[in-house]
Symmetry: C2
Subunit: 722 residues, 2 copies
Amino acid sequence: MGPLVTPERLREFFAPRSLAVVGASDTSGWAQFIAASSAATGFTGPLIPVHPRHATVFGRPAVRSLRDLAEPAELAFVMVPTQAVEDVIDDAAAAGVRNAVVLASGYREAGPEGYARQDRLVARAAAHGIVLLGPNCLGFINTHAAAGPFALSVPLPLLSGPVGIALQSGALATAVLAFARSRAIGVSTLVTMGNESMITTADVLDYLVEDEQTRVICLFLEEISQPDRFARAAGEAARAGKPIVALKTGSSPAGQVAALAHTGSVAGDDAMVDAALRQFGVIRVTSIEELLCTAGLLGYDRLPAGRRMGVLTASGGACGIIADRASAQDIVIPPFAAGTVAAIERHLPLFAAARNPLDVTGYVLANPRVSALTAIDHALDAAMDDPGLDFVLFCGVTIPDARPQDERLAGMIEERVRWLGERIASAPIPVIPMGSTCVDVSGYARDLLTTHHIYLLGGFELGVRALGHALRWLENRGTLTYPAPPRISRQAAVPGAAGSWPEAAARDLLAAGQVPLVPAELVNSAGEAVRAARRIGAPVVLKVCSAQITHKSDIGGVALGVHGDAQVEEAYQRVRAAGESVPGAIIDGVLLSPMRAGGVELLAGVTVDRTFGPVLAVGLGGVWVDLLGDTSLRLLPVTTDDVKAMLGELRGGPLLRGARGTRPADLDVLAQVIKNVADVAMSLDGSLRALEVNPLWVNGDRVEGLDVLVVTGPPVPNGAEA
Amino acid sequence: MGPLVTPERLREFFAPRSLAVVGASDTSGWAQFIAASSAATGFTGPLIPVHPRHATVFGRPAVRSLRDLAEPAELAFVMVPTQAVEDVIDDAAAAGVRNAVVLASGYREAGPEGYARQDRLVARAAAHGIVLLGPNCLGFINTHAAAGPFALSVPLPLLSGPVGIALQSGALATAVLAFARSRAIGVSTLVTMGNESMITTADVLDYLVEDEQTRVICLFLEEISQPDRFARAAGEAARAGKPIVALKTGSSPAGQVAALAHTGSVAGDDAMVDAALRQFGVIRVTSIEELLCTAGLLGYDRLPAGRRMGVLTASGGACGIIADRASAQDIVIPPFAAGTVAAIERHLPLFAAARNPLDVTGYVLANPRVSALTAIDHALDAAMDDPGLDFVLFCGVTIPDARPQDERLAGMIEERVRWLGERIASAPIPVIPMGSTCVDVSGYARDLLTTHHIYLLGGFELGVRALGHALRWLENRGTLTYPAPPRISRQAAVPGAAGSWPEAAARDLLAAGQVPLVPAELVNSAGEAVRAARRIGAPVVLKVCSAQITHKSDIGGVALGVHGDAQVEEAYQRVRAAGESVPGAIIDGVLLSPMRAGGVELLAGVTVDRTFGPVLAVGLGGVWVDLLGDTSLRLLPVTTDDVKAMLGELRGGPLLRGARGTRPADLDVLAQVIKNVADVAMSLDGSLRALEVNPLWVNGDRVEGLDVLVVTGPPVPNGAEA
């Protein structure tokens, strides 16, 4: 038997034509919500209450059990108490019901007992061939299939549209739908994930990527439990031209506690999540408003081919705010071409200047008009032919709250909106209409705008931020690698199972992997040290060598810049004694190396993330890491181009390019060495715990590891979750 | 004759009881707007159209000229064409009209001719004792005085409230009022500033600080033209407990162009603006939404005494988002006290945990209720007595779009809101209600909330950001100095008028001002250099000394770490030759100093900002300034406490506290030296152009200027604008 949750099966699951609501009663708020949600989506199929003691519910005839259904319902929404759920699943199987949403709580989120209960439920359903959404789940809405088995309030009207949504916190759905409505953003399918006992977020992501009605995908995430499948789906989404926008919580320690509490699973480290989402091409946002405004832009508008923006407004203040916000997003507002200026000037008051950003001035608003079109509309006609622009931001949409009683005025407004819709559809470059703030789009405006296929971006702040997201998404789309599947070592962080390698062994491993290291000799007497120092040449560095001592400097186990026999002898005794004073440390000897000066010191290390497996961190050493946390992260594997991109992301990166008098680093050589470090780490497979070259010294084309650390533990299965 | 624009006069100006609209006609959009705005504010006084050719306008009897008024109107709104304005002002004077708003454009914003026209207009008005708002101005609204001489559309209903607003871009007013309405934020007085020919933004700021109806002040700024008066007003506002929130544009080069174009005045450098606003205690925001949501919180809510927040929600997702946003604002979400946990648990479903942030779970929403109060309300009762909390964020306000037809349900909703209003008023700590997103507050909700004095913060994102602003404002209030008046040297940046001092003279100036400098000897031969080096002790530094050469390193005019007679001789010849190779440079000699090692290098400099006068910049040297732009700015004068605060703001600040093995700097000594640098700069008064000590070397309690630069020019009047 293959897996139950297949793409075909999900298409069936999310488009039921008949619905049984098990546990429905007249006093159940959940059932009331389901009836209302179904009505909101225009559900026309049978909606059959199932209750052992009620003959009718909401005036509809009820059956006592799923077994009493005349025909199997295509979906059962199960809202019975936790202890009754398993029996209902048996009833469903007997009745030929193949799909169920389970509302009850008390499963994975409720400790070990709940875990066991969830395992039993899944086993029972799987044995019957039944697919579950939930438990601890509020259901879903599919506007295009007109299905709404959804146990929360739906703000009306519910607008159908291109935005697919999956939420790991179902109770947020009403807030999400309310904001979507306020901005006239239409939803395709919205799914609340619950405990993901069978249908997972990755499954829904796959479904939405394939769903023809969905053009953009919104996610609310508390965890990414299947990063390999997530990465694969992200790659598919990019190939399908469907952006993914994610609001992922857990960026604060407190946030991580809340995520943990709610989902019963462990959230990953946020910097890693951030890096992974970027690598997967997922747009990360921080608010529900930003989530939906960004999705609205990506779902409705034609996207610009570049960053050169024309701006048309009726207020100098708007020009200033938009220019500032655009600058923060690296969006360019170039001067208009001469022809554009001339064409715009014809329709402006004398004192207004035809420049980009354009303020047609408020005079235009108050002047009596003979046609529906105003100066800003004529400016649009001119700007959209400007060869120096990639798109036009049009801040001239003004629609009253309600249809004016003056028919002539109403007709003029409606004619102008029609005209704008036509222009947007036919303009040579994208024309993106934007409001001043994110106030609600009124019912009148919504009807008018949707009729003419116009999406109005929600305000200068959210709108320009959404544009920045869209432009970055477009630019990055071709460059992303969607490392899939990342290697999963979920149990890698088990404490106590890890051990540091002796430095000599660690050096051998890295050297074999083509990581150049500073020359070093292991000595075990002061005399050997002196002879080695003579061979190496002054100044030298001495370090005590012991697998038990990872922070040698802290215990005085390192001597730097040592000159001459006497100093070498003294330094040998000193660092050896420092090592021997550490209880339990087995001393392998003292390592002598030449002292390196000038150049730049980097850090290149691989750690194993609980969620994402091995992760490469690259940073400049010293203050850059200590005080600024200036590192770049990538899931493995990486290419040398990835490594170069990582180096380019560092704030201290200019030092590698020769700022402040340093020799420019040979980035080809450096990137290859760092890639080799990553490859050596990968070669350790499931036993890898950490591998670090720190400092990695760079001076022009000379790259040398000055100190290395390798930590391994008992092998864990690779790709455990794949 | 004293100044026309006095506080008394402004109170009169902004509360007219009769209004003449000069130039009004039935086809004038402006006049229609004024009639509608007056109605929106509940204006009951006479509104008299004035037009030479119309007997009636909007059905009201018109007069031909202001001279024909039976009694003088308290305000004239002048909307005649530019060329007719001056005559209207004469008419006003003849009629005894003392106050006028001028709509016409073509003044300061229209080049030299416009400047002259504006000067003429002001002179004419002043001669008559008439006070002008504008020209190029859309008027104002005063909800408490029920006056609305305002020539833009007012979104209805217009809510009266505590937020005073001044806008340097009048055309933004409709967007501002629309967003305020959407969040049920009430306005006291809104003024559009126009060209500020007589009434300036600082005047309106003073007015709003004194206005009893205003509790918080919102500004949209394109320029700060009177920083001294602005600073004084900010100080008064702080003393009055009225926060100022400002959206100041011009943060981007493009934004600066837009501001310049619109206001006809020069915008200051944005980093300086940022520093000045912070120093004035002004909350700076980047969007209209943030401006008003922050003002709403400050205007309506009781403010917390600290950062410990209790969070009550009905969604785990909300907890996650709020926790992340709170963390970004350094707001703490501590565990509940045991008593709070016990009290909350009694009202929660078994599977829900009584922790902070609290998710009472969606179950509560769907369960049939016997009373209006739900679990989240009981949680509020418990949390507001928690001794470990400073305030409670209450995310449990759910009001439908319209009053339910079910009377019992409507009664329950209304009773609950009443209860909440009562709790907010009586709770021992502030209770701050917040919605999930910034969707519009519906009419039903607005009426209900305002009746019970409840302000609902607009969403997790804007709401928590507003809280962060409020907390910082409260914490900083006592520590700010409101340097007033800052010295103004508006013409200081005149090119060509400045000159560098010879290094010896610059050193003398600083030394006299108690700025310790590294010892130095000026020599003029290789022999003198060798003898000086012997006295100083190796290693030494040699620098060529010439007022014409400010960047000595760039031309090879510096030798570092020089040892021994031979090296000193060679270095002397080399740096001298480098200096002599610069065309036009007069060489004063070569300066020898001991080489300093270890420690940290800082930069301490004073520049003269066009708007704000002398400004102190403090930063760590090297990469911190070059790559990170890590500097702190303050208007002068400063105290040593100010300087310590500046050092604390630096990202590289930990280096001064001994991070990475450096000796901790003696901050008392260092702050005194930097203050002395600032005082020396101030002593140059209007002739100051720049004064810089860079590097300023710090090693423990040793602080020494290693290099100094003083640039002065012809004196300019000090406090020119004061």
